[in-house]
Each structure stands twice: as C-alpha cells, then as structure tokens.
C-alpha cells in the first residue's frame, strides 16, 4: 500500500504496541483481537511488506469506528485513526474496497446520504417547511436525523422553536460529507461535497449543528480540507446551554458524551449544563474526553450485530454505576442504544429530555 511516510511511522509504532488494548469499544464488545489498533497496524505493516494482500485486511479496516479512543489514550501521540483513514483512502484508490462499502459510497454520491434514501418523512418535511424562510441562523439537521431518525430531527426543530426566536431549516439540506469522510477520508469527492455544503452555510451568520458527527466535520474536517467557513458554526448543545430551562426531576442520569464533541472538539460542559437543569447527573466512570462510543447508524448497515454489542456494553456500564438513564447528544448513539431490547436503563435523547418527552 502506497502510504505516506508519516502514516507508515505511526503504523510501525503501533503494530507492536498493546497499550490501548483496553479502550477500543468494538474490541471490548467483540472480544476479537483483530479489533485492536495494534492488529490493524500489524495487518497494514504486513501488507506494506508484501507478506499479505490488502484484500485480507480490508474488512478489518472498516471495523474501526474512528472514535479516537486509542489515539486519545496514547501518551506518546501515535494515532491509529490516522493510518486507518489513510488505508481506507488508498484501498479506494486501488479499487480494493468491499462491495458493501462501495454501495454506501455510491449512495453518498448518488443520493446525498449513505443510506440511499430519496426523501425525508412527511412529518419532518412539514415542520421544516415552517422554517423555510431565510434568517440569520441555520439549523443543520444532518443526514442521520433527516433520513434515519426523523423523530429526532423533528424534536430538534421543536427545541429550537422553544429557545430561538427565528431560524431556518433547509428542506433540501445537502450532505456535509460526514459519511464519505468516514468511508474514504480526504478524497476529492469528499472535499467537493464539503465545499458545496460550506457554500450554503456561508449564506448565514450562524449555523447550529444538531448532530455531533456533523459538528466534527464542519468545525474541524472542513478546516483540515482547506474549506473556508465564514459563518459561525456552533453545536446544538453549546447553543442551547445558556438558553434551556427546566425542572430538575430525573435522578441518576448518565451523560453519554459524543466523542466527536468531547474528544475531537474539546466540548464537554454544554451538555452537562443542560442536563443538570433537568436531571441529577451520575457520571460514567469513563466520561467526557474518556467517553466510550456507543454505536452509530452507518456501521449498523454492515456490522449490525457488533454495533448492538457495543451499545449493550455501554448500557452495562450504566448499570454498573447505578444509573437509571442514559442521556445522549448524538443521533447515532441514541438510535444504537435504543435498538437494544432491555428495560433496566432508560435511553433519552437530549432533545427529548428538554421537551420532557421520554
């Protein structure tokens, strides 16, 4: 694999290092040795040495959530996400991607979402239509909420209606590149999609980003790809933190920090500020920057059983600290956690908490 020297250095450091073995949410859920950063590095290093074929490891390259837990825990700064993402890009360029990944990529390019959905739900469309007029503030719902979790999209709009005097939601909101960035990284196609989204955002003074996955893309990946954003991009949680008001009634609520906000953007306090207005917080042992990813919708499309196990592990973490509820800020994590059939821990999306509907 024709990787950059920079990535190769990370690969060759991680291939024989076990220090982040404990932290991978997928490895912990599956118990599979291949779901570790060192296993991925070892596999890539052997491909780089022509000892095995790229096709032998490519599935494993896509078993990584790129949640950065491994990179975050590394005291010397080695970054398994860096070479995992580059391996995906190189495999794409070499035409060596698995078919199930090619389908998702084609969907992104053809329909603007990885799921290949052509339209959003009528209910979501209806509430969006009330905010079609151009204002200074744009609420960016994201493809997961629009196509896969419309109830969350609707509730996000309702929360905004409660606390923001006026705002716009786009009926034809385009993809901002989050999924393609996950699937093939910094490809030209990803950049083009991001640029198109940025061009729309730049017509507004402020963009409130509902989905933490999109927040990472817009607030960080755009810059890394050289895409200029002239508007102020704020997360849904940081926008609402000073505004939300409520009655503190819920007990033993654990906050499921979205890694995109807590680790990638360093934003951990806004959700606490909001949740503490409605609930007594009982923190996970691993919270904030240390958070443990609880699954998403995209990976469920090709490794659904594993993602369910990931969610089950997080619910088990909540049980072991004596929590009764998990409050999510990520659409993907909410859907993933809700997919687990259990009655011990209540799963509440932040927007539902604010609306008192749970």
């Amino acid at each position: 694999m024709n990787m950059t020297e920079f990535s190769k250095k990370h690969v060759d450091s991680c291939r024989f290092c076990w220090m982040c073995h404990h932290i991978c949410p997928i490895g912990n859920a599956t118990g599979q040795e291949r779901n570790t950063a060192r296993a991925r590095a070892l596999g890539i290093s052997l491909v780089n040495r022509d000892a095995i074929a790229l096709e032998e490891i490519i599935d494993n390259i896509y078993e990584c959530a790129t949640c950065s837990a491994c990179a975050h825990t590394c005291v010397t700064g080695w970054d398994p996400v860096l070479f995992t993402r580059e391996a995906r890009l190189k495999a794409a360029l070499a035409g060596a991607l698995p078919e199930y990944i090619n389908i998702l990529i084609d969907n992104c390019l053809d329909t603007g979402n990885a799921y290949g959905k052509e339209d959003i739900s009528p209910e979501l469309k209806e509430i969006i239509s009330k905010h079609g007029e151009k204002t200074d503030t744009l609420l960016w719902l994201g493809t997961d909420a629009r196509y896969m979790a419309p109830a969350q999209g609707i509730n996000a709009v309702r929360v905004m209606e409660k606390y923001a005097p006026s705002f716009t939601v786009l009926e034809d909101e385009p993809d901002c590149g989050t999924h393609l960035d996950f699937l093939i990284g910094t490809a030209e196609e990803t950049k083009n999609i991001m640029q198109s989204a940025a061009d729309i955002m730049n017509n507004y003074t402020k963009v409130v980003i509902f989905d933490p996955a999109d927040a990472k893309t817009i607030k960080r990946a755009f810059g890394e790809m050289g895409i200029e954003l002239s508007c102020e991009a704020v997360t849904f949680t940081s926008f609402l933190a000073p505004l939300a008001k409520g009655e503190k009634t819920l007990r033993d609520a654990a906050i499921q920090d979205a890694f995109q906000l807590s680790r990638e953007l360093g934003e951990t306090e806004p959700i606490r500020e909001i949740v503490s207005k409605y609930a007594y917080i009982r923190e996970f042992l691993l919270n904030g920057e240390e958070t443990v990813w609880a699954g998403n919708i995209l990976m469920s499309r090709y490794m659904g059983r594993v993602i369910k196990k990931v969610a089950e592990m997080r619910i088990s973490n909540a049980e072991s600290i004596g929590a009764k509820y998990i409050i999510t800020e990520s659409v993907g994590e909410y859907v993933s956690l809700k997919s687990v059939k259990q009655d011990k821990i209540g799963i509440i999306a932040l927007e539902n908490l604010i609306l008192g509907e749970y």
Binding site: D12, M19, Q32, E33, A39, I52, D59, C74, R305
Partner: protein
Amino acid sequence: MQYQMNKFLFAMILTELEDAVGRENCSTRVIDKVTHSVDYYWLSRMWADRGCRMPEADFVVCPGCAEDVSKVLKIANYYKLPVTTWGAGGGTQGGAVPVCGGILLDTKRMNKIYDVNTESMYIECGTGCVYKHVEYAANEVGKTTMHYPSSLTCSTVGGFLAHRGIGVSSTKFGKIDDMVLKMEIVLPNGDIIETSPAPKHAAGPDLNQIFIGSEGTLGVITKAQMRIYDEPEVRRFRGFLFSDLSSAIKAGRELLQKFKPSVMRLYDQAETSSLIKKIVGVDRKGAFMNIAYEGVKELVDVEGKILLDTFGKYGAEDLGSEYGEKWWKEKITFFYPGHMMDIPQMFGTMDTIAPYDKIEKIYWAMKEAVESNFPQARFIAHFSHWYEWGTMLYDRFIIDGKDVPADPVEALRLHQAVWSVGVRAAIANGGVVNDHHGVGIKLGRFMKEQYGPAMQVFEGLKKSLDPNGIMNPFKLGL
C-alpha cells in the same frame, strides 16, 4: 497431529468448532490468524518486521465460557490438535504464539464481571477480562485492585495468572498469585474444575499454585476471584540517590525488615543515566531509588520517618517527593513506542530473583556475561519487587539496530545466544530462569537446566493431565 490435514477434514473440524462456540466466534480468516501469530515476543516481532509470517493457527476460536472451552478441548483431543491459549497477546516470552498451528483459543470473550464483592473484597470475573477492566469495576465501587503492571491495559486476568505476573506495588500487595483467591479451570480432557473455596488451607497442595504459571500447558483458566482493596488514605513518594548499588540494596533489605513500601524500585547507574533521566528527569550520577508508601495516614507518617532514618544510615541523598510523583505519573510511559526499546533494536528483559546474599553477585555476573560476550550490547537493570528475604533483578540488554543482522535467522541466532549467556549466568549464581514474565518458548530450554530431576514433577503433571500433549506444545520446556 499424526496425520495429514486435508481440505475435507479441515472443513469437518471447522464445523465442529463452530458448533462448539458459534460460527461468528470461529475464524480461519487471514487477519485473525496473522493477528494471533505475533505477540510481544521480540522474535515474533522481528520476524514480522522482516516481512515473514510467523507460524499461524489453523483455527481461531473465541469461547464465551468454560463450557465452550470444554467442548473445544474435547474436539482438540479427539483430532490431536494443538491448542494455544491467547489472552491479549502482551506476553514477552512467545507463550501465546501457536508455533504448532492447530487451534488458537482466544479468551477475551470470557470477559464478564460476575461479582464485585465488597464484603470479602474480591471481584469474580472471566479470565478474558483485560485487567484494567477489573480495575474499572473496582473503581466504580471506590476500591482498587492494587495490580498496576505496565501491561495493565493490555493483558488479561488469565494472562497474568498463566505466567505469574506482577505489578509495581507488589512489595506491599504481592504478585498475582497473592491476589487470587479461587479459580475455575478447564482441564485438557474437558473437565471443568474449581480450586478450593478459599486459599491458605491445609487441604493438601494448593491447586491454585499448580496452575498459576503453567502457561496454558495444563489447562485453561476460565474464571478467577481477584482481590480488591480500599483506596489508600494517602500515598506518598520519596526519591533517593545512592552512590552505589551495593549500599542501596543493603538499605532496601533493612527497610523491608521494618515495613513494606508499596513501590520500591532501585535503578542501576546505567538505567538512572538513561531511562530515568529521560522520563523522570533525574540528571545525576548514581543509583536512583523510588519509594512509595501508602495506607492509613497515621501509619504512613511513621513509615516516612522510618524510611528517612533507614536510608540516611546508608548515605542516601533525599531527593524529595517530586521525582517519585513524576515516576508514578509516568510509570506506563516507559513502555510506549518512542520511549521503549523497539525494532530495529534487539532487546530483552532477563528478569530473575534471588535471596539478598546472591542477588548482587547475579547482577554483576549477568552484566559481565552479556557485555563481555556481546560488546555491541548495553546492559541496564533495576530491582523492582522486594521481599524480606530477597529481591528481583530486572535486567535488560539492548543492541542497536545497526548491529542486528538483517537476515531473520541470523538475528534469531544472535538473540538466542545473548539469552543463553544471560540466563545461564543467573542460574549458575543462584537465580532462576525468570521472575515474572514467564518461560514461553523463549526460555523453555533452560527449565531442565534449572530444575534438573525436579523437572519430572512438571512432566508427570503434564503427562497425567494432557496425555495427548495438545496444550501449548513446546512451551515451559514441556
């Protein structure tokens, strides 16, 4: 295996294993086989670095409980297939490398926390738990395991038990064999047994101690009760600089007759001026010693006074608490790439243990043996686990990449040769083959040299429990 594996038989065995553990927990994928072929053992790493593939298992199975393991071992016995048990692959001795192929049994699905018992102060867990996860479970109820090895995050409970591991607070809290109360084990014939309900009994030999350190050659440990402790009220650190190793060992010996610190680490001059200087910042000539003492505050106050008085008698310079606290904070940093030795360097830890009247002689003998036979090698050491009667020597050799043969077989030859002179120097002067990394395939050849006719005890156990010799062949000298 006395027969030729063929495609038909391979498929038959595969379906039986899938039936035993579930299809998704049984793999013949290249990624799984390759991943389990390289552990922390330098030779396996070097082999992979040279673009060679290490011996791989034919089947990788991930059982979820003792019953699954039992089924797998019954299949393995029937087909006479080798079984190599794998925890998390953090071992340094090649103990988990499936050198004979066959079945690789990965224990990490057996990662359930069954009971956090704060009355009797133990956690019962599957041995596939990474130890850090046991620590998390303890922390969630305000307790701790007091087991803090550098491999805390990358080794399983079973791995520590199988090779008799140790953590940095061992001087006060003991080795892994002091931390386990009870175990569940699957014998090679598939029988599931439990050791006695409590340790420290007089109901015959201690079954725990027969299987601890057996490195998967006598069975598979599937469940264990591991001790937990109250968090200490206070943990204090004190760094000292000794002018020479000899006075430092004497000071340590005397201190152990009075009380037990938790951490006690003495670095020779070579390691003080290299690793300790780099990570902790002690830029002085001499032998650095770091002490941590902890527990109930009133006791710790008294221990601090005893420590200063005792070390003062041996001319130790008190460096205060700063370096010790830095060491504690960075205690795992030493082992990350960029700080730790790594390929292309050749290196190894030849840890041994002996009573006080022999340990210093062993240090000098090993240093002399390595440095005189291999002038290209550096030799550094520290003494990090102390007892009232003796201490262990954690000595390492390092050969820079330019002096390591590119040819993998020649590199292997040099590696074996360095180990041979080092370990034989230890044995000849009253040391043992290894202190806490185990034996694996790396040191198996020295077992008979150390034990002589006593080796027949191990061989008898092996023959009785594993008559087909399927369990982790060519490890532990068995």
